[in-house]
Symmetry: C2
Subunit: 387 residues, 2 copies
DNA sequence: CCTTGTTTGTTCTTCTTCCGGACGAATGCG
DNA sequence: CGCATTCGTCCGGAAGAAGAACAAACAAGG
């Protein structure tokens, strides 16, 4: 961030455009980089030379094919190097902690998950997360010193300034800065964001919304939240609490919500709420996994409840889509895998959004399942590692 | 737009950062520009020299004061030049056409307005608009040849690709490209956008939301629309029809709306609808101006109706704000001047939005009144004139 | 087998751009 | 009047990018 000269910044920009191209398209020749960046052969050659001596890029062993026809000198391919070490992603949910260790291009080397009551005690959950990161590191044959950065997601909005949890949603987390706390435990830079935001980034980069620029990612799990990507960039809002789709009021006289209002959408369609709704009719212990199975098997009661939940979400989404006119809505979270729910969302959006808006919109289930947030956390860590 | 070299682009970027700074802050010295841009003295001097010889910038006659204390050589101020000619803005509403001619920094030289039924016959309205532009030009002592660009706003969403009116909202405008049509009549480049979008830009640049980056502008007039600015940039959506706040459904079994759905917010709170609601109780001919006067005078019936309308809008806005977390909501349009309505909006937003979202939000009436769209149209024209 | 043509990548030179230091200009202050 | 201070410009130098020339590696064709 040192205020370097304008020319240095220019070279930096060009260097970065090469690395991002390599990150996006994989190994390629210098000639391909010329075509991709619009820079001259000689500049690309020089920049790649820099990147090789600095260790960020390596020349691969195998050769490629010439660009046009079969004739001509075969190019040497260059690729981003994965210099020693990697990054970690931490996904903290209401009832689980997931951890992944990945190399610096995002290939997951080790992954762990644990169920625990995160809401109750933030400190304990962070302790556990730190232990899991260390354990996963051992599993990947790495040490804490090999870690460049950690990305994490938390199931609550984060204040833009203090990076701490503002709302009273998580009782055991009040006024805590999750990133600082985990940083204290690991001694490595930690970057935190909202779970829905990171899920949106993951589905955008590697999931169901690849290539989109305007996207709404809805996470349906213990809570209900949205990650909103507009113009290819995450929209966080003036104070960092955008995307609170779950706290749109749908019932003036509804249940009191943990956010302080009443009748929030989240009081109708969170996973715990749906389980509570279904349990009396089933004499087996129900879990999210179980109702997803019952849904797949065609159980009428489960289908009705999930479909209704999807419709309620779609009703609120339709209003949002009327205002934002996005290309894609991705339905994710643990319940995003239910086709009944996703169909309900699609039906309600089609019904309640303007015809033109609905016509321009795709409603798709998430491609990354419940690993979306974890993938997003890894991506966040990679994005923040200085190149 | 020719694919110029990387170095030329760099100089271009720096030149542009100087002109935008001058456009934003008005006349300033080269030393101020150094402080503002972070470039070196000599670079700024060279760039300003270029801009002066190319005619984009002039040295003003009057001198400024030295930056620190009173001692030191007084600086020479430079300012964007307003080379011969100007731009025009055209505001086309459902029942009026307004036109302004301005110089190239946005100072209005001549302005005209006319009431007519625009919806019925698009071609006639555009004929009229072209005549008004020519007339206003004469009033400003200019000819058509002096005009660099025309910005216009239309009271309907525009398709992103064809720049034509998609929805069936305006019966007499179907499949028309307003910009092309006006261009044919004037022979000058014409740029068109949604009325609410241009109102948002105007309030952002010169009105009640100066300095904000995340803004929702609500236009309450013959229709109801929103202009959404996020991160300082207008959000148009995937197909260019974002901001359809008026077509959020608020009553499942409500009136059929001209958009094809039923129970849209716009069927409850447009100006014609409110007038129809009030007329039976008043034995005088009511107009928007009249009910604004009655509102100011404290008439109970008018106040109730406007307040209810504001609450209905605020109810829908609260959902949007929960999702977008903007800094400011500006209530504009002909009815935006009603304090009852604005108060109603504020009350409903406070009630239905999340407490944190509401706390971070200002709800203010528009500062530009019913001229907002016209000012925005002029700004659009200026923005599109090549620098 | 050898020549020709094509694509790739590097080296050398030239040109553009920016920056730092030196210097004149214009003013306030003692 | 001398001095400090700020402003703007000129000059030399450094960094970066592009173009020309050239070497390398392969395919195709005689």
């Amino acid at each position: 961030m040192g205020t370097s000269s304008s020319l240095e910044r220019l070279r930096d920009t060009n260097r970065r455009s090469i690395t991002t191209l390599l990150a996006a398209e994989g190994p390629m020749s210098r000639a391909d980089l010329v075509r991709g960046t619009g820079l001259s052969r000689t500049t690309v050659s020089s920049l790649v030379g820099d990147l090789i001596t600095s260790g960020h890029v390596v020349e691969t062993a195998d050769r490629g094919r010439p660009h046009k026809g079969g004739s001509g000198r075969p190019p040497l391919l260059v690729a981003l190097s994965t210099p020693g070490g990697g990054v970690a992603g931490v996904d903290i949910g209401h009832r689980h902690v997931r951890v992944a260790v990945a190399d610096r291009v995002g290939a997951v080397l080790a992954e762990e998950a644990a169920d625990l009551d995160v809401d109750e005690d933030g400190a304990a959950a962070l302790d556990r997360a730190a232990r899991m990161v260390r354990h996963a590191l051992r599993g990947a044959g790495l040490g804490v010193g090999d870690l460049h950065a950690v990305g994490m997601c938390v199931p609550a909005p984060l204040d833009r300034r203090s990076a701490s949890i503002r709302t009273g949603i998580l009782p055991g987390w009040r006024e805590l800065s999750p990133a600082d706390e985990l940083h204290r435990r690991l001694g490595i830079p930690v970057f935190a964001d909202n779970d829905a935001n990171l899920g949106a980034l993951a589905e955008l980069g590697q999931g169901a919304a690849r290539g989109a620029t305007d996207l709404v990612y809805v996470k349906v799990a213990s809570g209900l939240g949205a990650g909103i990507v507009l113009g290819g960039r995450l929209h966080r809002g003036a104070s960092g609490i955008a995307g609170e789709l779950g706290h749109v009021q749908v019932d003036e006289a509804g249940q009191v919500c943990r956010c302080g209002n009443r009748g929030c959408l989240e009081t109708l369609v969170s996973a715990p709420r749906l389980l509570a709704l279904l349990r009396p009719a089933y004499d087996e212990p129900l879990s999210v996994e179980r109702i997803l199975a019952l849904d797949g098997a065609g159980d009428a009661g489960v289908r009705r409840v999930l479909s209704d939940a999807g419709r309620a979400i779609g009703r609120a989404l339709a209003d949002l889509c009327n205002n934002l006119n996005p290309e894609v809505v991705v339905v994710g979270g643990s319940l995003g895998g239910s086709t009944s729910l996703t169909d309900g969302v699609r039906a309600a959006v089609d019904r309640y959004a303007q015809p033109e808006t609905a016509a321009a919109l795709r409603v798709v289930p998430g491609a990354l399942g419940d690993r979306a947030e974890l993938v997003g956390a890894v991506s966040l860590a990679i994005a923040r590692v200085s190149v």
